[in-house]
Amino acid sequence: MRDDYTSELGHGLKWAYLLGIVGALLAPVFYVIYISFNEHGFAARIYEFTFEWYRVVLGDIMLVASLEWSIYLALGAVATAIPMGLMAAKLYKRTRHKVGFVTLMLSPLFVPADILASSLLVFFRHVNGVFELLGEALGWEWLTHWFELGFLTALIGQIVYTLPYAFVIILITMSRYHPQQTEAARGCGATGWQAFWQVEFPQIKAGVFSACAFVVILSFNEATRTALLKGGFDTFANVLVSQMLNVGMSGESYAMGGIMSIVAMTVIGGFIIYTLFRSERLERVARAKAEPLMSD
C-alpha cells in the first residue's frame, strides 16, 4: 500500500529496518551454527570446516538416548495437544462464555515456565501421595506409581505448555470456516462425524498441520518444565542446559545448539514456505474464478 505522502527512500528504510530486526534475531543462532562447524571451536584464529562435533554428538549413546526421549515427548504432545486443541476450538465456537473459556485456554502463555513447572511439581507430588494411599487401601499396586515424576508428568507439563498454541492456530483457521456448511451437510443427512471429517476438516487441515509442526518444535525445544517434571530421564535440551552450566561451552554444545536450530528451521521454514505457496495457489484459484465475472 503506497500513498502520496510516502517517499521511496523512507519506504525502503522501513523495509530495511524490518529485515534488520529479523536478521538481528537470527544472527546469533546462525553464528552458533557457524561455530559448530569449526574444528577449533569458538574464538579460534583459524576456521577449519568440520562435521566432527556433530559426529561426536550423534556418536554419544547418552545424547542419542536423550534425543529419542525428546522425540517421544514431542510425539506424545502432538498426539494429545492437537485433538484437544481442535476440540477446544470447536467448543469455543459454541460456548456463550467465550471470555472465561479463552482466558483459561490462553493463561499458560502468560505464566513463566519456572513458575508453572514448580506448581506442577508440587501438585504431582501431592497427587502421587493420594494415589499411593488409594493404591494401598484398595490393594491396587499399579495405582501407586501413576504420578511419580517420569514420562507422564513431563508429557502433561508439555501439553499444558503447547495446548494454547495449538488452540490459537486452529481457532484462527477455523474463523474462516462458515458453520452453515456443517448445517447444510447435516441437513443432507450426514452424521456429525461425516460433516466434520468430509466438510469441515479439509478446510481447516492446514491449520491443524501447522499446529502439529508448532507443537513438535515447542516440545522439542522445551527445557525448563521438563527439567523439573521428567524424573529419571534426560531430553536433548536438558542435556544441553546441564552441559552449558556444568561443563561450559564446548564444540559439542555448539553442535547440539546447531542440531536444535536446524531442526526448528527445517520444520518451521518448511511450514512457512508451504503456507506461502498455498496462499499463492488459493489466490490464483480465486482470481481464476473472478475472471469470467469481471469480463461480463
Partner: protein, 267 residues
C-alpha cells in the same frame, strides 16, 4: 486445563502457607515463607528484576511495535501475514539456543566486540553487555520481541486503513498519528504483548542464569533456588506473588483497554 493448570495454580496459594519440613511440607497455616521473602534480599532482587523486565518491555515496544504498524499500514493486505510469518522463525528456535547464542556474540571475544575493535571504534572489549543486568535485558528483548510484533499486529488488524488516510488528509505528522491515534486504538494488543514480555522476563530463569552472571536473579530463578534448597513453601509463596502480579496487571489492562478486543479478528 482445569485439572493440570487452574487447580495447581490455585493450590499454589494454599501450599504457600503450609509449614516447611526437612524435605517437604505439611498442612498448616503460616506466613513464614512470605516473611522469609519480604525480609530478605530476595525482595530487593525481585524488585530489581521487575525494573529490568520493565526496560525489556519498553525496548521491545520501541523496536517491535513500529514494525506491526508498518506492516499493517504500508504492506499490501495479501502480503501482510506473510511478512509477519518472518518473525515466527526466530520465535520458534529454542529460547535456550537463542539465549545461549548470545554468549559468543556478546562475550569479551565475541562477534560484537571483535567487529567493533576491527573497525577501530573501540580499543578494549566492552564487558558490560554480558554477565550483567544489561546482558539480561538484551537477552529478554531478543527472546520476547517477536511477541510484541504478533500482539501489535493482531491489534492493528482491528484498525481500519481509512483511519490512516484521515490522519494523512488532515496533515497530522507521523509522531502525532502514532501517539494520538494508533497507540490508543492498538492499546489492547500493546498491553497484552507488554504483559507477556514483562511476566516472562520476570519469571524465565534461563536468561539470568546464562547471561546475567553471578549476581543476576529474577523471580523464576529465586523459585528454582528455593526448590533446590527444598524450601517448597517459599517457592510457592514467590509463585503466588508472581501470579498475583500477573492477575493484577491483566485485571487493570482489561478494565482500561478491554482485552477481549484482541480476539475480534478471530471471532
Amino acid at each position: 486445563m482445569v485439572l493440570f493448570f487452574a487447580i495447581p495454580m490455585t493450590a499454589t496459594v494454599v501450599w504457600s502457607v503450609f509449614e516447611r519440613t526437612q524435605f517437604w511440607m505439611e498442612p498448616g497455616f503460616t506466613f513464614l515463607a512470605y516473611e522469609n521473602f519480604f525480609t530478605s534480599a530476595r525482595v530487593e532482587n525481585y524488585l530489581n528484576s521487575m525494573i529490568h523486565s520493565a526496560w525489556a518491555v519498553v525496548i521491545s515496544f520501541a523496536l517491535g511495535f513500529p514494525i506491526a504498524v508498518f506492516v499493517r499500514r504500508r504492506v499490501p493486505r495479501v502480503a501482510q501475514h506473510r511478512v509477519i510469518l518472518l518473525f515466527i522463525l526466530p520465535f520458534m528456535i529454542s529460547e535456550l539456543v537463542r539465549v545461549f547464542a548470545m554468549r559468543p556474540v556478546l562475550g569479551r571475544y565475541g562477534l560484537v566486540n571483535t567487529f567493533l575493535m576491527d573497525i577501530g571504534l573501540i580499543s578494549e572489549p566492552i564487558t558490560v553487555i554480558l554477565f550483567s543486568p544489561l546482558g539480561v535485558i538484551i537477552g529478554d528483548v531478543l527472546s520476547f520481541l517477536p511477541f510484541m510484533v504478533f500482539a501489535g499486529f493482531l491489534a492493528m488488524e482491528a484498525v481500519q486503513l481509512y483511519v490512516f488516510e484521515v490522519c494523512d488528509d488532515l496533515g497530522a505528522g507521523g509522531v502525532r498519528t502514532f501517539r494520538d491515534v494508533i497507540v490508543p486504538l492498538a492499546a489492547p494488543g500493546i498491553f497484552a504483548g507488554s504483559v507477556f514480555i514483562f511476566v516472562n522476563s520476570l519469571g524465565v530463569a534461563l536468561v539470568p542464569i546464562i547471561l546475567g552472571g553471578p549476581g543476576a536473579v529474577n523471580a523464576g530463578l529465586i523459585v528454582n533456588q528455593a526448590i533446590v534448597a527444598l524450601d517448597f513453601p517459599l517457592a510457592m509463596a514467590i509463585s503466588t506473588i508472581m501470579i498475583a502480579t500477573l492477575m493484577a496487571l491483566l485485571y487493570i489492562g482489561h478494565r482500561l483497554f478491554d482485552l477481549t478486543k484482541i480476539l475480534e479478528p478471530i471471532n
